[in-house]
């Protein structure tokens, strides 16, 4: 280290005075963005709270941050927060896992046996275009007002789009790479495992990101329709008894869960696609 090594986090790791300046301006900008992001949130919550306190808006209709915080603590203390979050997360993850794994497996089957894919094509396209919410009552009649019906809805919403996008990625695998492995005498399974599947990994990751959100939608709508537990149920229950704080608290928790799940998938991406890291 030459020059004056600064202990400031703004210049940590600098190798020269010029580099320190560069790092300082880079990190200063990041810090500013972070500060303003927090300021926007604080201003929003503050204005909401004040507007409700001063009766500019009606807290009976809009609720307010203090009431939401209170409700949150109340739910946390009587154990219903953990229980309902666990139910929703469980249903979402099962729906996500089943929809994604089954979708990829069916896409693989279509790649393996393209006669099947040609036959199934119009059916998959139509099923994909069908609004899956319309199937909610069907699942409830078949499976009862149970967790299974909610999961079925969560699966149906991600399954067909997974089949279509992953199958299309399988088919777009570089034919020249297939020639390379064929020249080494690759079997069909080796073509799939060495070329076709790895080529589709970026698409599969993008599908995971979409599916986690879709499964959450399916779960919440399923809970609206049929459940007696879960955040979707809390929201509908809050609406029925006109308790806006309960509705808003559930929505806020849902937002945090959605963000956390998306972040988790991003972490998986960084682990699975190392060749794109830099």
């Amino acid at each position: 280290m030459n020059g004056a090594p600064s202990s400031s986090f703004l210049t940590r790791g600098a190798v020269s005075e010029r580099h320190a300046q560069f790092l300082r301006s880079l990190r200063l900008r990041q810090t500013k963005v972070l500060i303003v992001q927090f300021a926007v949130l604080a201003a929003f919550l503050g204005l909401w709270q004040l507007a409700a306190t001063w009766r500019i808006i009606d807290p009976f209709i809009t609720s307010q941050p203090s009431a939401i915080a209170q409700k949150f603590l109340e739910l946390a203390n009587d154990g219903s927060l953990g229980y309902n979050v666990a139910i929703t997360v469980f249903e979402t993850l099962v729906g996500f896992a089943v929809g994604t794994v089954a979708g990829i497996a069916i896409a693989g089957l279509f790649w393996w046996w393209d006669f099947l894919s040609d036959v199934a094509d119009p059916y998959v396209v139509v099923l994909n275009a069908t609004p899956k919410m319309a199937l909610g009552p069907v699942f409830i009649i078949w499976l009862g007002a149970t967790i299974s019906a909610v999961i079925a809805l969560a699966v149906s919403i991600s399954l067909f789009v997974t089949i279509l996008s992953v199958y299309s990625a399988f088919r777009q695998a570089d034919p020249d790479k297939l020639v390379v492995v064929s020249s080494f005498g690759a079997s069909k399974w080796q073509q799939f495992s060495k070329v076709v599947f790895p080529s589709a990994v970026p698409t599969i990751i993008a599908t995971l990101k979409v599916n986690i959100g879709l499964s959450l939608i399916g779960t919440i709508v399923g809970e609206f329709l049929a459940a007696n537990a879960g955040l979707g149920y809390l929201i509908i229950y809050g609406q029925n008894i006109f308790n806006m704080s309960l509705v808003m608290t559930s929505v806020v928790i849902l937002t945090v869960i959605a963000g956390a799940m998306y972040y988790a998938v991003s972490l998986i991406e960084r682990h699975l696609v190392p060749w794109r890291r830099d």
Partner: protein, 261 residues
């Protein structure tokens, strides 16, 4: 040079079928490649050179005729035959070493011994220290070198080269030509190069086969004898007194000017 024949194509024909009809790419073509020989095939573009290479590699089944390797009819790809394509087609999700080991993995010969050879090849071709890099971190020449090592790692006796130098810049191309030429000489491999570059064909080969336009048939065969001071390389071949005459004669065979103008 041994005069034993290594590869023999007999009465090869190939027809491409599509919805709109059929195209005859090869018609009743015979050719022989001797063991240890470096042989090139040149022909007008679209004449079916690559189709011929595809058939010899076993990736394409001839509509008629057969391919013999040391007198034995081969169908499908063969472990003694390796291919190097025009582009490197490295797998971007694999490191350099993993790419080099691809053929070994598929052939089931991914033993410690074979891995050591892949490692050694990487080292001797200037790729030491890049084993764990990803292809996008390499230059075009280095990438094609990895592709070459991927093929060589399975230790084929016959190398089929499908215009492997055509996508490279001029300097890189000359160096890679030199390396491939040396490998084939030193390891006593047999090589069949398909190219549209006449100078490349003459400078590297013992024999040049000129094909006619589609459907491809053998139009002329040249045994290349060049007077060079030291051991022959693609580099010093270009300075041999006979070099120009061969190129000119092949150029005339190809009849390119009349075809394209």
């Amino acid at each position: 040079m041994s005069a034993r024949e290594r590869i023999r194509g007999e009465g090869l024909s190939y027809t491409y079928l599509t919805r709109t009809g059929e195209t005859l790419a090869l018609k009743d073509l015979d050719l022989t490649i001797r063991a240890g020989e470096f042989c090139s095939i040149v022909g007008p573009s679209g004449c079916g050179k690559s189709t011929l290479l595809g058939i010899i590699s076993g990736l394409l089944q001839p509509t008629e005729g057969q391919v013999l390797l040391d007198g034995v009819n081969i169908r499908g790809t063969h472990e003694r035959v390796g291919i190097l394509l025009q582009k490197d087609h490295l797998f971007e999700w694999r490191t350099v070493l993993q790419n080099a080991e691809l053929g070994l993995e598929i052939r089931g010969g991914n033993t410690a011994e074979a891995r050591r050879r892949a490692h050694q090849l990487l080292e001797s071709y200037g790729l030491a220290g890049f084993e764990n890099s990803y292809p996008h971190q390499l230059s075009g020449g280095m990438r094609q070198r990895v592709a070459l090592i991927r093929t060589l790692a399975t230790d084929p006796d016959v190398l089929l080269l499908d215009e492997p130098f055509s996508a490279l810049d001029y300097q890189t191309k000359l160096i890679l030509e030199r390396d491939v030429h040396r490998i084939i000489r030193e390891d006593k491999k047999t090589a069949l190069l398909v190219t549209h570059d006449i100078e490349e064909a003459v400078s590297m080969s013992d024999r040049v086969i000129v094909l006619s336009g589609r459907p491809a048939q053998v139009k002329n065969v040249y045994d290349i004898a060049l007077t060079v001071a030291a051991e022959r390389t693609p580099m010093n071949s270009r300075d041999a007194p006979e070099f120009r005459a061969y190129c000119k004669s092949i150029w005339e065979d190809l009849d390119i000017e009349r075809r394209t103008l």
